[in-house]
Amino acid sequence: MPGVINTVSLFIHTGTRDKVLPSIRDFLCQNKLKKMKRRDLLKNLLLTAGVLAADVTWSKSLQSAGSIKGIFPRADDQKLIAEIMETFIPETATPGAKSLKLDHFAMRMIRDCYVQNDQNLFSKGLALVDQVALGLHNKNFISGSKSERELVLKNMQESKEQMQLDFIKIIKALTIVGYQNSEYVMTNIQHYNMNPGFFNGCVPVSKS
């Protein structure tokens, strides 16, 4: 509409009245309200329409994510993401990242909620994982043993290269947030109760 001025501010709400779902208060979505190119905006709008129409959870499949060129360009990107996340949170007596399909969640978040700059950063960082693995063990990440994989991620986490640090920060945050907010963890470990029905202002930590 000509003549209508929408002043874009960089303010992100930090008000006192409310919080988004409390379990994601430390969530790492790099939302900087950066200007998005019109082409990308349209592409994302189309994708969003599809996602919003389908009432999916991240335990269900995410068919289109792998095909988005530019964010996840390689055919086996999703498999690599799943294995990295599984290395952070492995299957034990309780489900790990792969069983909980956290790769679907992570890819959806990167596709829909990350600005282009951070999407690029993620793709470039993902491509470094095999480089680091080859340097350390002379084989790519997926071919490594559990302890070799852990060592790759530890090296990247402690790297002096900003791109490696940023990548690990994003994928680890998505792993932790996805895990902590998964149906399994919220139901069986945190005992999430949507309707607590009470508030006690001051209770001993031991009883909380």
């Binding site: 509409m1 003549g3 006192t16 709008l45 034990t92 852990e150 947030v177 209770v203």
Partner: protein, 572 residues
């Protein structure tokens, strides 16, 4: 809902028309229908039925595709709505999207709207603090705006009337500057909030009290609430999704179904009010012109009395657009004041701080409420270099964390065992802004919306008084926190935060004693057109610092009672 035959004038004629179904329109509907008036409520947005139209109310966190966050595409398409704290994946359905309803920001102003039955009463903050006599005295004492034509004693019985029906949780604190109301049991303060409250009492000799917020939640319902079909608040704090229990007050859960039970209500959603019809011969308003939101067809509805409750700025828009040979500049606008003296609440600064004590304690359950520090500056006399003052909201939580540096099974174990950090508090200012002629809204001469209605142009900004108040809040609250042992006090002046995000915009159609300097009389009745009443935020002469909805509801109930009595006397 009554069947509408738009071909028949008789079927389009009612005793009363209420424009808007939000928090004040719902009250007008309730009171007018209870008074025996056949009432048509017009809502520009879609129907939202209590319970059945709250699609996210029972969704678990993991059932949202993006854990509550909105995708970038939605944010990019809606930069204005996205700056509102409550516009999220679970609540976006109750917010106006930017491109559907454009307006012109002559100066940056984020206008947050909810176009649906119930309006913003579905997503409001639910704070319900009464004004005091010091608030109604303010303009006369300090020489700004105009004198209110009412005082606290006029309003007190109507506050009680509204509070009993709405259900307000609160503590009787006995404060002159924040009068007690008809309260359901209060929420508890946390240990750290209680500590701060006690420290304030000692350090400031009871001149800076903190109380638990008074809020529209049914902590323990009374029979009147059960009769409305509402149940006890479940402490979900998922209010903005719509509450299937009716645990907080909304038009949808309370006033509208109540009005419907009288048999006197006709509710018509998707009805965009274009203007009020004025009849020169009768020297009265005779009805309203409505544009169907979908077919864009214009239909006229008629009534003896019209309540305008379209939300502050839209009410201004409708009045300015209601032009006739008698009122060339908009209905009731002989003074030329309609649209002027718009004000808001200054929410620009918040402060976070931590306390290292009380380490063995935390909270349990969820509280859909905050603590409230009523205005302590310039309450009883002028004492600073700025006019008026600010209230503050205050919340606390115990920081929890996990060791997230780990990898593998040790990380998984760590995530199952959260550790407790310091108590953290967050307090935000709610400052009174001074209504000024230079803060105004007007109609654009050329641009129109999809319904052929002129676009509203908003020219509202902060002034020097606001800047001084912002500084004072930072200094005073930091001192108050510091004296109570808080550390890491960080003052965030959110300089880019435009007016509007407070969602407390008020004025433009102010009440007053003199028809030359105000638009409405002490009954919210237009000086120039006695059968038109304005009882939403547009009527406000000044803003004070309290959350305003309770006062809008009290004005509405009082005005509706007056209108019913006047109609029965044949005066309208």
């Amino acid at each position: 809902m009554a069947f509408l035959n738009i071909n028949s004038i008789k079927d389009r004629t009612f005793d009363a028309i209420v424009v808007g179904s939000g928090i004040s329109g719902g009250w007008a509907a309730k009171e007018l229908t209870e008074g025996g008036l056949k009432t048509l409520v017009l809502e520009r947005g879609r129907a939202v039925n209590h319970i059945t139209d709250y699609p996210t109310a029972f969704k678990n966190p993991w059932e949202f595709d993006h854990l509550g966050q909105l995708p970038n595409a939605v944010k990019e398409a809606n930069p204005i709505a996205s700056r509102c704290f409550a516009f999220a994946e679970d609540s976006a359905q109750f917010f106006v999207k930017d491109d559907e309803h454009p307006y012109i920001q002559d100066k940056p102003f984020d206008w947050i709207r909810g176009y649906q039955v119930g309006g913003k009463s579905l997503t409001w903050g639910r704070g319900t603090q009464r004004w005091s006599e010091y608030d109604f005295d303010g303009p006369a004492r300090d020489g700004y705006a105009v004198d209110w034509p009412v005082r606290y004693k006029d309003m007190a019985p109507w506050y009680s009337h509204v509070e009993k029906f709405v259900g307000i949780s609160g503590n009787k604190d006995g404060l002159a500057q924040l009068p007690d109301g008809e309260f359901l049991p209060p929420h508890e303060m946390s240990c750290i909030e209680d500590h701060f409250k006690k420290q304030l009492a000692i350090n400031y000799k009871n001149t800076r009290p903190m109380v638990i917020g008074r809020c529209a939640h049914l902590t323990v319902p009374k029979p009147i609430h059960v009769e409305q079909g509402r149940a006890q608040c479940q402490h979900r704090n998922l209010c903005r999704r719509g509450c299937p229990y009716g645990g907080y007050f909304s038009s949808n859960s309370s006033t509208l179904p109540w009005a419907e039970k009288t048999g006197n209500l006709t509710l018509r959603p998707d009805s965009v009010v274009h203007s009020i019809i004025y009849d020169d011969a009768k020297q009265k308003a005779t009805g309203v012109r409505v544009i169907d939101a979908h077919t864009k067809e214009m239909v006229e509805y008629f009534a003896k009395v019209i309540f305008v409750n379209g939300s502050t700025l839209n009410t201004n828009l409708i009045l300015l657009n209601s032009k006739s040979s008698r009122f060339e500049n908009g209905i009731g606008n002989d003074s030329g004041l309609v649209g002027k003296y718009v004000a808001f609440h200054n929410f620009r600064t918040n402060i976070v701080a931590e306390h290292e004590g009380f380490k063995d304690t935390t909270t349990a359950g969820v509280r859909p409420n905050m603590c409230y520090i009523p205005r302590f500056r310039n309450v009883f006399k002028q004492e600073t270099n700025f006019l008026r003052g600010y209230a503050a909201g205050f919340i606390s939580s115990r920081v929890t964390y996990n060791d997230e540096t780990l990898i593998g099974e040790s990380l998984k174990d760590s995530l199952a065992n959260k550790k407790y950090g310091n108590w953290r508090v967050n307090t935000g200012m709610m400052g009174e802004t001074i209504p000024k002629e230079t803060n105004f809204v007007s109609l654009d001469a050329n641009l129109k919306d999809a319904w052929g209605i002129p676009l509203l142009k908003v020219s509202v900004e902060y002034d020097d008084n606001d800047e001084k108040m912002i500084k004072d809040f930072g200094v005073q609250m930091s001192e108050m926190l510091s004296k109570a042992g808080f550390k890491n006090i960080v003052v965030n002046d959110l300089v880019g935060k435009a007016p509007g995000l407070d969602i407390h915009e008020m004025g433009g159609v102010r009440m007053g004693k003199d028809e030359k300097t105000s638009v409405l009389n002490k009954w919210n009745q237009m000086h120039g057109c006695k059968n038109v009443f304005v009882t939403d935020g547009a009527c406000m002469t000044s803003t004070s610092t309290q959350n305003p909805s309770l006062t809008f509801m009290a004005f509405t109930a009082r005005a509706a009672d007056y209108a019913v009595r006047e109609m029965k006397k044949g005066n309208l």
